[in-house]
Symmetry: C2
Subunit: 287 residues, 2 copies
């Protein structure tokens, strides 16, 4: 595929998450689309979404999406499995820009690599309770076992990504998941954006015949496809040169909005994004 | 001390917490004051407060306190260490009823039992960052070491109160805390309302010469004192019989308000309260 930046106008790509986890998705997108302006919204005053009801999550997600559209986003990524599971269609109905969630790209990737069509999905309680991956995978012919792993997020946020305690917790969770599911399982889907930081450790704990689907990476690939598709449409409409205001190779720009402490976000973000962050602005979207 | 119920009108005691943890405080109060009407407000849509800024916590706490006063509370307990640490005086300024936090009673108890005047306080990141216990204990002549234990709440909520992983995490946290503090430490203050459920396990892990202060119990004792003091004032003013509308022994009544799923609260509450709960009502206080 031709890189999106070669023939598309410079996009403004917004990533929305309940906290810092969506930064793993942002990182994966930036690696593939470096020539873009990035907005990130972390709803850190109201995290975690994982323990909240669908109604509450939909209300929060719509508020964030409309805010990001007002700030100039031309493409919105819901970089949060809970919000993608519970509020993707609410958000699509509330804004006028393309919206990409993290569920469908992960399910597509699982379908590409699985022979047995039997998968385990791990995620927060809410993602699992919403059965969004189960439904998305069922549409692709999968039998799926879902397993909530509520300790993984606090363990990652404690910085214990490669810690003996985290590995012990992973062994317990994965043993429970595999015991409760089919012996033919050949895919484990990381259904939470914190989990890519546990991928190396999970790889050690997991049987070698089970592949890992990292939904941050698969979502980033869906963004590249969306940008390429937009670019083709513009070419067909003959509007490329008019809209290609940012066709040069300038590298990414970043603007971060958080609903709680900007300082705390600045401290934690590098763990997830792999770079220091500037332009962190506190915003209050109310209820 | 004469039990409050023997000579006070039947009080309406409200306990406010960010979630279910304050139920350990409610339980300790009910054991001491069974003849009262209880209101409990769990701000479950916006938990945990532990990761939020002072401004956000104060706004949420004031909203909850005013709601509970409107519902008829005659005494308000902030059964949440983070909110007590960050918003006690904001709440006191926003309502007309007595307000009791969990910090001062715990500090009083530590002062009663400590010989060395050196203590360790464990709590959430926000409680520790606010240094509320450190200041409260310093006023009583203590040198204090504070240690954030962010994994304890999710471990308790996972139900792993007596689990090998939780004990391993406790050994790591307590070893770090004791290594960083004085050898003369003789008190450990449980600065989070989830931690009473870990008390038996912590007792095993902790050196025998270190006493544990359970702030749920000490707060309940402060409530008993406040009720007795009110009762004495009423007697002196000659208004006892007019206000003693509920002087009989009727046992407690309960009404629970939560900002997120009532079902989830109903499922988790018995772990903390030690009894099944009814009268759980969902409320939305907005931002």
């Amino acid at each position: 595929m031709t890189p999106a930046r070669a023939d598309a106008s410079r996009p403004t790509i917004a990533v929305f998450d309940s906290g810092v986890g969506g930064l793993t998705v942002l990182r994966a997108i930036v690696e593939r689309v470096p020539n873009a302006d990035y907005l990130y919204f972390g709803d850190t005053a109201r995290l975690p979404y994982g323990s909240k009801s669908r109604e509450t999550i939909a209300r929060y997600a719509i508020g964030a999406a409309q805010f990001l559209q007002q700030k100039g986003a031309t493409l919105l990524v819901i970089g949060c499995n809970t919000a993608s599971a519970m509020a993707l269609y609410d958000v699509k109905g509330a804004v006028d820009i393309p919206v990409i969630g993290v569920i469908e790209p992960g399910a597509d990737r699982a379908a590409e690599i699985s022979q047995s069509r039997e998968a385990v999905v791990i995620g927060t309680e809410a993602t699992v309770a919403a059965h969004a991956y189960q439904r998305a995978l069922a549409r692709r012919g999968f039998a799926t076992h879902e397993k909530a792993c509520p300790l993984f997020v606090p363990l990652v946020e404690e910085g214990w990504t490669d810690h003996a305690v985290t590995e012990q917790v992973a062994r317990i969770y994965l043993a429970e998941a595999l015991k409760a599911s089919s012996v033919h399982i050949d895919v484990l889907v990381l259904g939470c954006t914190h989990y890519p930081l546990l991928k190396n450790m999970l790889r050690r704990v997991l049987p070698a015949n089970i592949a890992i689907v990292d939904s941050a990476e698969t979502t980033a690939e869906a963004v590249v496809e969306e940008l390429a598709s937009n670019s083709r449409e513009r070419k067909q409409g003959g509007t490329l040169s008019a809209s290609a205001k940012g066709g040069g190779i300038e590298g990414p720009s970043f603007h971060f909005y958080v609903t709680d402490s900007a300082d705390k976000f600045r401290r934690m973000a590098p763990i997830f994004l792999g770079r220091e962050v500037e332009n962190v602005e506190h915003v209050d979207l109310g209820g």
